[in-house]
Symmetry: C2
Subunit: 256 residues, 2 copies
């Protein structure tokens, strides 16, 4: 598969392999393929799946992620599936007392980026839907990945766990700015805003809005603060100018 | 719903509401409920769902996230669904030229945490499965959230998009250390390691391993570097001591 644009720049073509140990349902494998490709991963490896292949449910659930299913490989054991990898992260919901570092998905993704940047081949291993990985498989891993969950309801399915790891991998290499401010016109200048505020206050004076000099002082200040904070554009100031003029005219008429 | 432990400490009880605008499939609503509760969110609101309620497929897909479905509310319009909220993030796959800031899910989660910390009520709005939100709904939002995806395959479904936003919300308040080193014995002391290395070199000297003084110098250095980097534990050093002793004995026997 050839990735284009941002995904290719992010180095996704050398992205981690996803290894599924003894997956039970073809449908889940399809969902995993879809989750992977959304985040630019394409190397899917199954170890002893408990269903036949090809699998119509997997194809349907992949929702078009054929690039992943077409190059997917099936292995008789985990050692064979991982033989070309330099570093294996194994995911588990319950990190047992293993002599391995335990990492969040985010930290693992950052480490995977670093390793791939050094030319290493990296894999993420996921266990069977119902039981997860056993100690025998975890022993082959270099590090354990655990996704922090609500302790009162921890029920992430296989494709969701893959989705989050793939998302973190993509995020760790993605250069989308965290926040882009709204495009559009710049705010009006200080002088333009001051001109409008002077006009508004004059109209309010004319309409008797302020009632007393003390009230006037504090209300004028409140109006200034309100507009300074919002920084209207020139077009918005023109609109407000029109509104005030029109209301002032009607007010004037009514007061006559 | 009462959250316990880490989720409660993370302030999840005041967590963002999830608003689904005109969802098409009950099954997706169930998957959304499941995704939410995994990350401690429980306030689900539907606007004009296109299916009847209660919905058996939603309940089945929720996989036990009853706490979310039981308090779920259905509204005739978006204004009603959002009326108690101070801040609405709207998700879209294609951020159009709107006069709104556009944020990643991670940045939006951090801002949501900040707002909730100030006592504001926050919501995340998601559009219908097929079409996404239209400009009419986006206009009600304070900011737009877009999840960066592989430009060559962008096919995140509704529950997956909710999952990632909920995950980022939880992450932003979670205090799991990014990496915990393997528990277990500390490495042996410098002196213990030096003692073993001296023994090893002596045995290798005896066995004629080094062949020449130049070779000996560089190989001894390589052995020291190898062991200094790995820092074996005292138990491992004892194991290695036994191995070297046994091999040296056999080697000695063979050489006689």
């Amino acid at each position: 598969m050839k990735l284009t644009g941002k995904a290719a720049r992010a180095g996704a073509e050398n992205g981690p392999a996803i290894l599924l140990f003894a997956p039970q349902l073809g449908e889940n494998v399809g969902q995993v393929a879809r989750a992977m490709l959304n985040f630019g991963l394409a190397d899917l490896r199954l170890v002893r799946p408990r269903f036949g292949w090809p699998n119509a449910k997997a194809v349907a659930a992949a929702a078009g992620a054929h690039a992943v299913l077409n190059r997917m490989r099936i292995f008789p054991g985990l050692a064979e599936a991982a033989e070309d990898l330099h570093h294996l992260f194994a995911t588990t919901a319950r990190p047992r007392e293993l002599e391995k570092p335990v990492m969040t998905a985010e930290a693992a993704a950052a480490e995977a980026r670093r390793l791939v940047g050094e030319g290493r081949r990296v894999g993420f291993l996921f266990g069977p839907e119902r039981s997860g990985l056993s100690n025998a498989e975890l022993a082959l891993a270099d590090a354990i990945v655990t996704i922090p969950l609500n302790p009162a309801f921890s029920s992430l399915n296989l494709a969701q766990a893959v989705l989050i790891c793939a998302y973190e991998w993509f995020e760790a290499g993605d250069r989308t700015p965290p926040r882009r401010e709204a495009a559009g016109e710049p705010p009006a200048t200080k002088a333009e805003l001051a001109g409008f505020l002077a006009f508004l206050v004059e109209e309010l004076d004319r309409s008797g809005f302020f009632r007393s000099p003390t009230r006037r002082r504090s209300l004028v200040r409140a109006i200034e603060v309100m507009f300074e904070r919002r920084r209207p554009t020139r077009a918005e100031l023109n609109l407000l100018w029109g509104i005030v003029k029109q209301l002032g005219r009607r007010g004037g008429t009514r007061n006559l």
